[in-house]
């Protein structure tokens, strides 16, 4: 860990001024990831700007009937917020699938968006990593890569984004509100996180002098037919091998709208709008779900240890869509995987049980 300055920002404008003035500075809120990275000498900020007391901890309705979540709302508060539980249970479920109770108490909404990959090589300064040290190479491509990405990879980086919350936010078409020296702007969730390409050191489209102030959810919450299904190596406190946020708008057993976001498989929460669109007006059957899964995974590519993720993702998508269609979302406390994939050639009504 290096020496660093510490300062506190009194308001958002001052936070922006401080970060704009020091290219080596980092914001700190819950610190659940940044402090680890500093201890490992992976993050070496010259200054920590403490934003934890900024007035960004409110959850409030928006004019259009959506919900605005302040960037400093702790993950635990958000997961149990009555409005979130009632209107966006997919988000609540994804939050509870992540980390541990202790970490969720500390972790903020904005910080969750900005957490770094858990790629072993990124965390180990004794190894090459293009994300940590641009140009040093990617050791994971030919190394220990069982946890790594199968979609949207580049020869320079095959890391995954570790968040569960973000997978739900991607499915819900959230927007990220940010403030910079030039004022406020909104970033569509899909555009917030980046694919690695040849600049894997850049995780997001957030500018260096911008601060996240809130996340906004549109009115449509898919509160009836949804699930967050996370498959991992132990039953809690592990990053996803594959996770799926699925949300369906069903009418008489036919899909009006489908949302499918994947975690654990790419450098960002993975959405495939084309595959989702193909489900429109389809019956909620295994055949339709299979076509969607195959479409989502058509360009998936495995590496030496993670090729299994392609089939696992396919099965997880199928089960998640089935859970959503049956309105039997995965419980995050009962670790039994709920439901059953509908058998071939049997259609399901999609009505809540």
């Amino acid at each position: 860990m290096n020496n660093f300055e510490y300062s506190r920002a009194a308001d958002v404008a001052e936070a922006v001024r401080q970060i704009a003035a020091d290219p080596g500075a980092k914001f700190i809120a819950g610190g659940t990831n940044l402090i680890d990275l500093m201890k490992e000498n992976v993050a070496r900020p010259t200054r920590l700007i403490d934003i934890s007391r900024l007035p960004l901890s409110r959850v409030e309705d928006t004019k259009d009937g959506g919900l605005r979540i302040g960037a400093l709302v702790p993950n635990s508060d958000l997961a149990y917020h009555p409005q979130v539980e009632a209107r966006y249970p997919l988000l609540a479920s994804a939050l509870l699938a992540g980390a541990s109770a202790q970490l969720r108490n500390m972790a903020s909404t904005g910080g969750n968006l900005l957490q770094r990959t858990r790629c072993y090589y990124f965390y180990d300064t004794a190894t090459p990593c293009n994300k940590r040290e641009p140009g040093s190479g990617c050791a994971a491509v030919d190394g220990v890569n069982r946890m790594h990405a199968i979609l949207g990879t580049s020869p320079h980086c095959i890391a995954t984004h570790p968040s569960d919350m973000c997978v739900a936010l991607a499915a819900l078409d959230a927007r990220v509100l940010v403030t910079g020296p030039g004022g406020e702007r909104a970033i569509a969730f899909e555009d917030f996180h980046r694919l690695p390409g040849d600049t894997p050191h850049l995780d997001t489209s957030l500018a260096a002098d911008e601060i996240i102030t809130a996340v906004e959810l549109p009115p449509k919450g898919f509160a009836r037919n949804y699930t967050y299904l996370k498959i991992r190596d132990r039953l809690s406190y592990a990053f996803a091998l594959v996770s799926v946020a699925a949300a369906l708008d069903l009418k008489d057993g036919r899909i009006q709208e489908a949302r499918i976001a994947l975690g654990g498989v790419a450098h960002k929460p993975w959405r495939d709008r084309e595959a989702e669109a193909r489900l429109k007006d389809e019956p909620a059957t295994r055949e339709a779900f299979t076509r969607a899964a195959d479409a989502i995974l058509r360009n998936a590519r495995g590496f030496s240890h993670n090729a299994f993720k392609i089939e696992l993702a396919r099965r997880t998508i199928l089960r998640a869509l089935s859970q959503a269609a049956q309105a039997s979302p995965q419980s995050q406390s009962d670790k039994r995987i709920a439901g059953k994939t509908p058998q071939e050639n049997t259609s399901e009504t999609g009505r809540p049980r």
């Binding site: 039953l235 199928l318 670790k335 995987i337």
Partner: protein
């Protein structure tokens, strides 16, 4: 002893409140005025040489006191013998900062010493070290081709027993056969407390050391040897140890570096390793085991071949007993066992809870399950058919073996009789249900150990020994035995441990402490009894006149005649009559081996798994572990030992694996986020049963030890349950989703 007051009674840990209130201090929690902090710099390369170390930037940081490297280190012993500790395997032990050669990734290459921990940690990042890299070999599958029989055997580890009959021929003629290869990965111990040493400079070359260790006298002798000091100049203590599981058996480099810095700088120094550094050494070696079993159609074993290859470092031949267990457990006329090592550019492996036994039993008990399946027999029935009343490796009967009772009690509690034999035949909704079982076996070891008992005039009793309590309940059972022997309340007894100046004891390991130290404490207290009776007989018109020790009982602070409880003298009165402030008695327990018996603990483990058929998500919903381990001194802490070991067995079956990057020769998942151990969600019902096992031969207490037996066989029971659920035999631990999908 028949009726007891304390022995065999569930007793809360006497050190429990100190631990949960933070009063108990661990090696890294001793703060001295003027203490400096050392941070270890670890090698990023696995093999090669240090060309140059530039310490200028680090030394320029305000508050940095010194940077110790192979270039400027103080004098260290120059012969292997000086680095060989009590439990060292054959070879040339690692010497910290000794030379410029890099032997494994993570090797300590410098110690940065500073006034504050943060300064040392920062300065450690400023070291510029130029390495000459060589390509390491860490791929076990590749190294296996060069596996060899270790020329020199490790002390205390039985090499594979000689061939019995002709296994190959018998296998060829067997009506039922199985043949398979099993793999177990590198695993790390992961105690809560990392390696840590606080070395306190006392002046005059005297050093007091608080070390994270399982053997204070082992650390003392080692440090004295390495630095050429007289052992009386090195006082080592480890009153509390935050888990060790074997990794504290050998003194490790943080001890050398802390003492080195304290001697060089003439001030107190603390060195604590990071969790990441904990993952660079001290591990359970991976194994590849080939099993070939043959049986008659009725299930009687006719052939048992077990060939194991395990990994070791380039500089030491670490060895375990992996393959002897079948011979010690089952009756089989033809048996062939081999054990080889393959050298890698890794640190030397390290004993880890039931070393050898846990990996050997995994393969043996899965193979027995495969044989049962091939023979269309119930797996439990197959074990009973091949039950042995003698240890075939030495042709000796056991001091005791209540394994049948374990099978019976475990099966009954589990409901094994309701199992349907065919795989994939039990279901619950979308989940497949599987029931599996396995046998556990571990040596009932005993070692020479000393203890001292001191009784004060006011009735306070102190019992002590240099043994450590690594969290297993040593303080508590000593207290129970001493209280029982002298008939005083538990609160009158103070137990002292883990101080190199106390009566001699070896490392705390091998599940031998209760049997060995318990016996020594009992004997010391017997001595006090004799002294007390003689003094009690000096009381005026002593009601105990003429009584012999056999005639009296020590109960409720009194010595009283067994045939007439009204004839009694209190301990306090006896002490007064003797006109002494204190009486003391030392005793040394030396295990008696009559050469005619085999000594083992046994267990039967039954496990239930529920598996989502499509997604491969495994839940271990029930485990019953029935243990026969002689007399149980403290059923409460003993139960905790078995519970913890079962949890670990679940981890071994499903989660634990240290991942190696062979290009870099580096262990990669070096954190508790990425190296998976079970969490609460992974653990459901665990039932522990101790079956009655009377053993009059093993030692006067009839005690065997329960520190390790609980993990032996557990992973096999789960693997067998997974086969029963799915019909898929994954022979490569841990059994993860990807392997089940393959």
């Amino acid at each position: 002893m028949t009726a007891t007051t304390y022995i065999g009674v569930p007793t809360s840990r006497v050190d429990g409140s100190a631990k949960v209130t933070g009063v108990a201090r661990y090696a890294a929690e001793y703060n001295m005025r003027g203490m400096a902090h050392g941070v270890v710099v670890s090698s990023p390369i696995a093999r090669g040489y240090i060309r140059r170390i530039d310490t200028r930037d680090a030394l320029a940081v305000d508050g940095v006191i010194d940077v110790l490297t192979c270039e400027n280190r103080p004098n260290l012993a120059g012969s292997d013998e000086k680095y060989r500790d009590e439990v060292a395997p054959p070879g040339s032990p690692f010497r910290p900062l000794y030379d410029d050669k890099i032997r494994y990734s993570g090797q300590p290459v410098a110690l940065v010493v500073a006034e504050e921990l943060e300064i040392a940690r920062y300065a450690a990042t400023l070291l510029r070290i130029d390495y000459e890299r060589e390509q390491p070999l860490t791929d076990f599958e590749q190294a296996r081709a060069q596996a060899y029989v270790p020329p020199k055997k490790r002390d205390g580890i039985a090499p594979p027993a000689e061939d019995l009959g002709g296994a190959k021929r018998a296998l060829a003629q067997a009506a039922v056969r199985m043949e398979a290869e099993y793999r177990t990965p590198i695993e790390h111990h992961n105690p809560m407390e990392p390696y840590a040493t606080t070395a306190i400079w006392e002046g005059d070359g005297q050093i007091t050391v608080f070390d994270k260790t399982q053997g204070v006298q082992n650390s003392q002798q080692y440090a004295a040897n390495v630095f050429g000091l007289s052992p009386d100049k090195v006082h080592v203590m480890a009153p509390y140890v935050g888990g060790a599981f074997g990794l504290g058996l050998r003194p490790q480099y943080q001890l050398v570096l802390a003492v080195m810095a304290a001697l060089a700088l003439k001030r107190s120094v603390r060195v604590v390793l990071t969790r990441q550094q904990m993952f660079t050494f001290s591990y359970r070696p991976a194994t590849i085991q080939h099993l070939a079993l043959g049986a008659q159609a009725d299930g009687h074993l006719v052939s048992f071949a077990h060939d194991a290859v395990a990994m070791t470092s380039r500089f030491e031949d670490y060895q375990e007993n992996v393959v002897n267990w079948s011979r010690q457990l089952y009756a089989c006329p033809n048996s062939a066992l081999t054990y080889k090592l393959a050298k890698l550019d890794l640190y030397t492996p390290c004993d880890m809870r039931a070393p050898g036994g846990v990996v050997g039993a995994y393969a043996i008990e899965c193979a027995m399950d495969e044989l049962a399946h091939a023979a269309k027999l119930d797996p439990l029935e197959l074990r009973l058919i091949n039950y042995s009343d003698k240890d075939q490796s030495e042709d000796k009967p056991y001091t005791s073996k209540e394994l049948r009772a374990c099978y019976r009690a475990g099966a009954e509690k589990f409901g094994w009789a309701k199992r349907s034999r065919e795989p994939r035949s039990m279901r619950e909704g979308s989940e497949l249900v599987g029931w599996g079982m396995a046998t556990g076996i571990w040596e009932a070891l005993q070692v020479k150990a000393s203890a001292k008992a001191v009784l004060g005039r006011n009735g306070d009793l102190e019992v002590s020994s240099a043994f450590c309590d690594i969290g297993t309940g040593t303080y508590t059972f000593m207290t129970q035995i001493a209280a029982e022997m002298l008939g005083v309340p538990l609160y009158s007894v103070a137990a002292r441990l883990a101080d190199s100046s106390l009566p001699d004891a070896p490392v705390e390991g091998g599940s031998w402490t209760t049997a060995s130290l318990g016996s020594a404490v009992q004997e010391a207290c017997m001595g006090l009894r004799g002294q007390l009776l003689r003094m009690a007989q000096r009381v005026d018109r002593s009601p105990l006149a003429g009584a012999r020790l056999d005639d009296v009982a020590f109960v409720d602070g009194n010595i009283r005649r067994k045939d007439d409880a009204s004839r009694a003298v209190s301990l306090v009165d006896a002490m007064r009559a003797g006109d002494v402030e204190r009486i003391e008695q030392s005793a040394t327990f030396e295990p008696e081996d009559d050469g005619k018996h085999a000594r083992f603990t046994h267990s039967a483990i039954f496990a239930e798994v529920k598996i989502d058929e499509e997604l491969g998500v495994i839940r271990v919903t029930r485990v019953v572990n029935a243990v026969a381990a002689g007399r149980i001194i403290n059923p409460k802490t003993a139960r905790s030992q078995i519970m913890g070991a079962v949890v670990w067995g679940i981890g071994m079956a499903l989660h634990e694996e240290t991942l190696v990057d062979h290009k870099l020769g580096r262990l990669m998942n070096h954190s508790l986020a990425e190296y998976h151990v079970p969490v609460n969600a992974d653990i459901h019902d665990i039932d522990v049963i101790f079956v009655e096992e009377k053993d009059d031969i093993i030692n006067p207490l009839g005690v065997k030890g329960v520190g390790e037996i609980g993990i032996v066989g557990t992973a096999a029971a789960i693997a067998n349950a997974i086969f029963h659920a799915t019909g898929r035999r994954v022979r490569d631990l841990p059994i993860t989703i990807d392997k089940l999908m393959r």
